[in-house]
Symmetry: C2
Subunit: 755 residues, 2 copies
């Protein structure tokens, strides 16, 4: 039957995009008996409302979520409607108020459906009419900083946010309104609104970019509610006949539309890899997730025949799993590329993601434990499914394992490897540029213990929505510091960022996986190559987390192999967080702090200490949040060791004053950086007891380094010696290797050897 209706709809659309295919009744009493063609049908469905109402009072997490929303909206209704003339940037009053309004409208609409109390519908109607009154004569927003100015907000992006939410509100009260009222709203508000963010703002809309996804979803969702096929098509496929200059750039330095692709489907196609990795990284995926999923849910409800959740082999649902795996033990997303630290799966977009993934996916019971922690659900069919799952005791812990996520539309543009063992997590980035929010951080990594950063990725230089800090927008230090290579835990060659810090070059390239091995629970390894960041220089980095009986916790082994045609200076920083305990090298601290360099991020670093390496292993121990860490790195007498601190040339205190140890190797062509990082012991400030506060590594040594193999021996304080050999070439799981080191033969199958 669904199929037949679909055909009818398609046929009718081909005649008129304005003609209604469903019989809309003005009789409000019919709401609860609506069929799939009636309203609500976008996110809430008539059948869903019926099911929810049947369970109310009997589904704790849903009841609680509903109660919270009711309390919030009742307070808003008492406070009265405010629809101010737009004036401010983000952080300012009118921005915040309009932002609040769209959230409130959506919630009030839902309450109307679930509680069947007309006061909510009336509130939505009244506020929409206020918007209608204002919008029909509203000029462009007075603030001019955006490449695509909105009308309610300073940028079209926020206008699109508004419409994504308000479409849902409109759907919920559709039948409450008279046809005349609907015509008024659609003619004076929704249609021109949709046009402004699309045909009037192609530089915003006609792209593959998270901004455009919001635009597409906004246009598509109001199109679904209005049953306007032109809008739906514009949402799915972009504006017909409009092609942007493929070389123009946006505010962030990203290409406006490199490939000429546009529309919601292209926005699914391009940024997601087959594994569900989103090319801009988890912070922006979280932001983009909501329009992807909420529009998909709407499409699935209104146009189930499109099978949107199966599109590109189910990539939307896969992307939720990928996103959850890109969070640490506390649920905080790894701050890859531009990402504000602290963003986590507690964000409301992730409530949407988790509930939709559970409901439209395969009911993974691990998702229920995240929903439990979120302590709220969507007030729709998917939220009901989650609430029932939890109520029926199906919840199991969500467990994160080591995972390799490919990047690129076809999964051929590098990726992100996450190694996990016990409480240790290592995020290794060998992805493509990551669109305009990408950093110049090839083969960089960050390290976590139980949700706390050990070796940090700086993240972004921005205080999102804090008006005092550049209006809450990107700060100039994001470009001069946060994106630069030296801000990351990877090699900087000759004080120059990867791809000379140029997006045009960076976006053409990606690193390449050498191998990823997680079958052996004791030894998890990721290895990747980068040949383009510095032309003429090849880097292969192999990172392992190893659980070894001589160590209390899994330790990290890091082998960065560099082969270059030229003589270079290599800087290799470790952005450790915490208090220095001691080193095995003598360093000098200067009386005045000077900057390390003049550009490419170096101008933001003060030198707090310097030394020349004096032994074959240089060691640093530090203490962070009650845990001890030790770093052991292979050095020779020509190596310099620098303690740096972020914060130079920072005239508005936009940067955090955090430290690094930097290994500097000059006048070198080919070289190896070999480092072990141990997490060990603990310090309890209440009992004042320090446990296992020292490194367990006696010696770290390179025993072989050829084009094909690198072999590292590690001797523990207890006296055992381990050998790790990584295959730099021919590293497949099936490959057989035989190798002679110091007159001894080693034979194995697979990417690496460890014993």
């Amino acid at each position: 039957m669904k199929l037949k209706i679909a055909i009818v709809i398609l046929l009718m659309f081909s005649f008129s995009c304005k003609e209604k295919t469903t019989t809309i009744s003005d009789d409000k009493k019919e709401t609860s008996t609506a069929t799939s063609q009636e309203h609500p049908n976008l996110i809430l469905t008539a059948q869903g409302v019926k099911d929810i109402r049947a369970q109310l009072g009997n589904i704790p997490i849903f009841d609680k979520s509903l109660e919270a929303v009711k309390k919030e909206i009742d307070a808003e209704i008492s406070a009265g409607i405010e629809v101010p003339i737009p004036k401010d940037y983000s952080g300012g009053y009118t921005h915040a108020r309009h932002k609040k309004n769209f959230v409130v409208l959506q919630k009030a609409g839902v309450l109307y459906q679930i509680l069947q109390d007309d006061k909510y519908a009336k509130y939505v109607k009244d506020m929409l009419m206020e918007y209608e009154k204002m919008y029909k004569t509203l000029p462009l927003h007075p603030k001019t900083r955006s490449y695509a100015r909105g009308k309610l907000f300073w940028q079209c992006l926020n206008d699109s946010n508004w419409l994504v939410y308000v479409s849902q509100a409109y759907d919920c009260i559709y039948n409450y309104l008279s046809e005349e009222e609907r015509n008024k709203l659609e003619t004076n508000l929704f249609r021109p609104f949709a046009d402004h963010i699309s045909v009037d703002s192609p530089q915003f809309y006609q792209r593959v970019h998270n901004h455009s996804t919001w635009g597409n979803a906004a246009v598509g969702m109001i199109g679904l509610v209005m049953n306007d096929q032109e809008l739906i098509d514009r949402a799915l496929y972009g504006i017909k006949g409009v092609n942007l200059d493929t070389k123009a750039k946006d505010d962030d330095g990203g290409f406006l539309n490199k490939d000429g692709k546009a529309g919601f489907l292209a926005n699914i196609e391009e940024p997601f890899s087959p594994d569900g990795y989103y090319n801009e990284g988890p912070y922006y995926q979280r932001y983009a997730m909501y329009p992807f999923l909420i529009f998909a849910e709407g499409l699935n409800n209104v146009k189930p025949e499109m099978k949107i959740f199966e599109y590109k082999e189910g990539v939307l649902l896969k992307s939720i799993n990928a996103l959850l795996n890109l969070s640490d033990a506390d649920g905080d997303f790894f701050p890859l590329n531009d990402g504000q630290k602290g963003m986590s799966y507690y964000n409301s977009a992730l409530v949407t993601a988790v509930d939709i993934s559970y409901h439209f996916g395969d009911q993974d019971p691990g998702l229920l434990s995240i929903a439990s922690k979120q302590d709220k659900v969507l007030l729709d069919d998917s939220g009901l499914a989650v609430a029932l799952g939890i109520k029926n005791g199906k919840e199991v812990p969500f467990t994160r394992k080591s995972i390799n996520l490919s990047d690129g539309p076809k999964g051929k543009q590098g990726g992100v490897g996450i190694l996990r063992n016990e409480d240790i997590e290592l995020v290794f980035k060998y992805a493509a540029q990551g669109s305009s929010h990408g950093h110049y951080d090839k083969l960089s990594y960050s390290l976590y213990e139980d949700g706390e950063e050990v070796i940090q990725d700086y993240g972004l230089a921005r205080f999102v929505n804090i008006e005092q800090k550049g209006g809450g927008n990107y700060l100039k230090e994001n470009k001069t510091w946060a994106k630069q290579t030296i801000a990351h835990n990877t090699v900087t060659q000759n004080e120059t960022s990867h791809f000379t810090g140029k997006y045009e070059i960076g976006s053409k390239h990606h690193s390449v996986l050498n191998y990823f091995s997680s079958e052996n629970e004791q030894v998890q390894v990721a290895s990747a190559k980068e040949e383009n960041a510095y032309p003429g220089t090849e880097m292969i980095r192999t990172m392992a987390i190893i659980k070894d009986e001589d160590f209390e916790k899994p330790y990290v082994l890091d082998v960065m192999k560099i082969a270059s045609k030229t003589v270079n200076k290599y800087d290799f920083p470790y952005y450790f967080l915490g208090q220095v305990l001691n080193t095995n090298f003598d360093y000098k601290t200067p009386e005045t702090l000077k900057i390390l360099g003049s550009k490419n991020g170096y101008q933001h670093l003060f030198v707090e200490g310097s030394a020349r390496a004096t032994s074959a292993n240089s060691k640093l121990s530090w203490l962070n949040k009650g845990k001890f860490y030790s770093l052991t790195t292979v050095t020779d007498n020509n190596d310099e060791l620098l303690f740096t601190r972020i914060g130079a040339n920072d005239p508005e205190f936009n940067l955090r004053r955090e430290a690094a140890l930097m290994l500097r190797r000059k006048n070198t062509k080919n070289t190896l950086f070999v480092t072990a990082i141990e997490a060990h012991g603990s310090y309890n400030v209440v009992s004042e007891s320090a446990i296992n506060s020292k490194s367990n590594i006696k010696e770290l040594k390179v025993v072989l380094d050829t084009q094909d193999y690198t072999a590292i021996s590690m001797t523990t304080v207890k006296g055992s010696t381990r050998l790790f050999i990584t295959a730099n070439t021919n590293a497949s799981r099936e490959a057989s290797h035989t190798l002679k080191i110091n007159e001894k033969n080693y034979t194995w199958t697979g990417s690496y050897y460890y014993k």
Copy 2:
């Protein structure tokens, strides 16, 4: 009856301090029917054991504590006894092992009594015999750094710790041992041990100091168990006939024995004020607390006629209340003087304190809520009382209110005022020097919101028990930085610390309370004077926390009035924690960071920014842990504003890189520093919403300043104006005042006016 026994005991003691007054039975079966003269009688009592055994399995928090101890000790027994030859400083192996041993012995003794399982008694006996074997020929500890070397440990202090715990273990297995065994232990171990830490180490024992308290308790407790009146007297009154050089100093720069007083009673008499404030501050009180209370409990059990808990009007129990009030909302102690941050009422000494306070005090049900959070109780009569209280639902929240704690043996040497309103806590220090652990911080303060530091006190420069950091002992930066005036939120005159940083001078003086007013819940005020820190300069500081309808949260008003006979340079820092958001003054940031000065702590400060004040109010806003703060201070065009950062001249990274804003006023005799600090709003990093992120103060203005009165007007952004007048003289609660300001008359009674 008790009285009679006491008299008998006293009479017998007058003949022989060695003669036993109780009939000790070798028959182990009699343990559970022992009378008050039998063992155990020190901490556990025979009756107590009976009561505990009757309730076992029925007192959840006690049962849980017992289970945890049993698990720990069973594991220790399996692991076997280790009594290594002493060798290391704190943090090293032998130190840690002997430290562990005494804790384990005490616990095993208790388990023997409560569980009546001989394996625990045997374990205690076997380990004691190992100690006996070693001790009788043991030389001084090989490490020489202490002014009073121990034998098991590098300092007598730790030897005393050992004996305080082991006395309890010995008491518990006293009846398990044969008389011969007891003689062996007492002759070869306990008696010489007690002698070493007392008669052989008078520079350690014969003082009023927390170290000596441990020594006194150790000697007294083993004396009580051995029923050795000579030792008991030595504990209570010090070593007969020994007087130390009153000008000699200890390792920390404190006088060894300025007044010639000694013994446990003197140690109660001297350091505690009548309000229970301990002169070294809460961190050291926590450390000293255990020997005070555990020896007092022992005295109370063995010699109830002494009424030790009523000594000096019950100061021991009062001191527990004072100590709990010297903790923030999370239970962390304010780091006054030398105090390591993070030390809290979760420390095991506070379990002792809370349980004893409840049991021997007036059963304050608020203490039960702390015991619940501690989640463990003492395994003795007091722990039983707490467990029963919790079990019977008597628990109520422990509420902290504003409190003024006098300092000095008679409460006449200044004090510490704590102002509290909602989540805001302000600790204002106008105390005496605080013994050798005191800082040069007259009229300094620190500010907290809900347990988080807003304006910090640096605390100490030490990583207690972390061997890599100077053996876990005080670092030289404790003296060069942490103790100096510039490290505190108070005035430094001419770059010189109070009392020129000299303990000999500082310890002669104290600040003086002007007034403390907490009757009005909306306005809490503390005011104090200091006339000796800088001869010729008088400072009066008045600090208020005010709840005002124009503000979201209570705000701080800070009025520092300075009158000097000479022209000076005043530095007035605010050690704010967090990220600078913005200022209303233009500052310059230097490209290289230089030190602010050459000595008295200034050599540890880098200058990160500098400005000249350009308006009548200078403002700084910052963000810390998701909350906004704004500081508004009255300035004129001659004022300099400096951003400083700690960390210069810190060759081993011993200091934390934290910031301050410093107001500098040069060429000035008399002046006022008037500042308001607001906590407001919040930033949620998950929803990325910034709420109420701006100051509510439009103008802060001095409207009158005379010798007798200082009046400040404050106008809010909403447009209301408030007037605060503080009486600098004649500030009693009853005093009447009439004052004309700008042709208007103000009349009031009391210390201050606010409207």
